[in-house]
């Protein structure tokens, strides 16, 4: 680095600039800054022509202890690890245990759950695994 040729520095600056733009572009353009613990579930949605589901953990943990869903209703602790479909929900399983028009709004409000941009992969937003690159947004 000591004996820089003239122009090397400019080149390096340009490279760094380009890198910054790429990084910032990645951050600014499709940047997801959703809540920690927001889960995107895309087991079947894309294939069925629906937007993937966003499950907001924060909203639900204000209202229910973890055990209600994860012990009583049988939700596994893994994004995409529950084979949920609309038939099961209508049948009162999984989300359908509450989203039945009694405890929470019923399933005709499709777009309240199916609200992620099409093609968003299954993930836990801002999870350690996502930050380490597994299932990161856009991959």
């Amino acid at each position: 680095m000591r004996n820089r040729k003239p122009g090397t520095r400019a080149l390096a600056a340009a490279a760094i600039g380009a890198l910054c733009v790429v990084l910032l572009g990645a951050v600014v353009a499709p940047e997801a800054r959703a809540e920690y613990g927001d889960v995107v579930i895309n087991n079947h949605s894309d294939k069925a022509g629906m937007r993937p589901v966003v499950f907001p953990h924060w909203f639900h943990r204000v209202r229910f202890a973890c055990k209600v869903c994860h012990a009583d209703l049988g939700f596994q602790f893994r994004a995409g690890g529950n084979d949920i479909n609309m038939v099961k929900i209508i049948d009162g399983q999984f989300c359908g245990a509450c989203h039945n028009g009694e405890i929470a709004w019923a399933i005709e409000n499709c777009n309240l759950c199916h609200s992620a941009p099409p093609g968003t992969p299954t993930q836990v937003h801002e999870s350690t695994l996502q930050r380490m690159g597994k299932g990161a947004l856009g991959k």
Partner: protein, 313 residues
């Protein structure tokens, strides 16, 4: 004599405003606008600025003050800026883009009249502006936490959070996190909410049963201390805070064998989403909060007295 004084005073006032705009620009705007990062209109670039200027200064003020969906953070990400500061910076940038020659010609005169060194105040002409960014970046050497998300950009509403589709009508009906979080104790990680404190202070009352608001669970109040290798403080695992949210069957026996010493736990496993990492790093407070778990200071005297015992473990 009087008209001359007036002219000098006017020029001086103009220069002062320009100088304030420049100062704000250098501090808060140049990081993106100097180079035109991520679609930001580039400083002094008439092509970038003319369509924006055509829509009027008021629209530009609003964008600068409130931010834009394209990535402009409110007040350039510096919440401490006053409205007047932001507007002065916008004026400064507009002037540089719309009439660089005029600005360059106008600035030295009042500066000279005020007998001040001209260099500082002179809004540069186009080539000089191109040379500016490097100098600005160098002057900003003491800025820190550049990549941290400022408070103004935490907990955004669903339509702006990047994970909800703004084109979806349902997105706009969903509750914005801040409307709930503003009433809750804060933390530095995760949702920026201290959920355990929120529960303790009874700010939230999560149901223990799907349908019965009065149901309550059995809270188990006993701590497990895990001695850890190296210099990290030992881990204190509180059953209390966990059983306020969870059922025994959530963790035992699938994740943790309910017997002291029977569970191999490592930070690597936790980072990979196993053991504590089944929740911590996904929804419960993340692994960045080391000291919330590693909270029991080692008894260094005892440790020094029995190094062999420690090595044998």
């Amino acid at each position: 004599m009087r008209p001359l004084l007036l002219v000098i005073a006017c020029c001086w006032a103009f220069a002062a405003a320009a100088q304030q705009g420049k100062a704000v620009y250098d501090k808060s705007c140049a990081l993106c606008h100097a180079a035109g990062v991520a679609g930001a209109p580039k400083f002094g670039n008439a092509a970038d600025w003319s369509p924006r200027i055509a829509r009027g200064a008021a629209a530009l003020y609003t964008s600068a003050l409130s931010g834009t969906p394209k990535g402009m953070p409110p007040r350039g990400g510096n919440a401490e800026l006053k409205d007047a500061d932001v507007k002065a910076a916008v004026d400064y940038m507009m002037a540089a883009a719309s009439a660089p020659a005029k600005a360059a010609a106008a600035a030295p005169k009042p500066a000279a009249a005020a007998a001040a060194p001209a260099a500082a105040a002179a809004p540069a002409s186009a080539p000089a502006a191109a040379a500016k960014p490097a100098a600005v970046a160098a002057a900003n050497v003491n800025a820190f936490n550049r990549l941290l998300r400022p408070a103004s950009r935490q907990n955004p509403p669903p339509a702006e959070d990047g994970i909800h589709d703004p084109k979806n009508d349902g997105t706009h009906v969903l509750q914005a996190p801040r409307s709930a979080f503003d009433a809750l104790p804060r933390s530095n990680a995760g949702n920026r909410v201290n959920w355990v404190a929120a529960l303790e202070e009874k700010r939230i009352a999560p149901r223990w049963d799907r349908a019965d608001p009065k149901a309550s669970g059995l809270v188990l109040d006993f701590n497990i201390v895990r001695e850890v290798k190296g210099s990290m403080p030992d881990v204190v695992y509180p059953h209390k805070q966990h059983t306020e949210w969870l059922d025994c069957s959530n963790c035992h026996p699938a994740i943790f064998i309910p017997q002291k010493g029977a569970n191999q736990i490592s930070m690597a496993a936790i980072l990979l989403g196993e053991k504590c990492g089944v929740c911590h790093g996904k929804v419960a407070f993340p692994v960045s909060e080391c000291r919330l778990c590693h909270s029991k200071k080692k008894d260094t005297a005892a440790a020094a007295a029995a190094p062999a015992a420690g090595a044998a473990k």
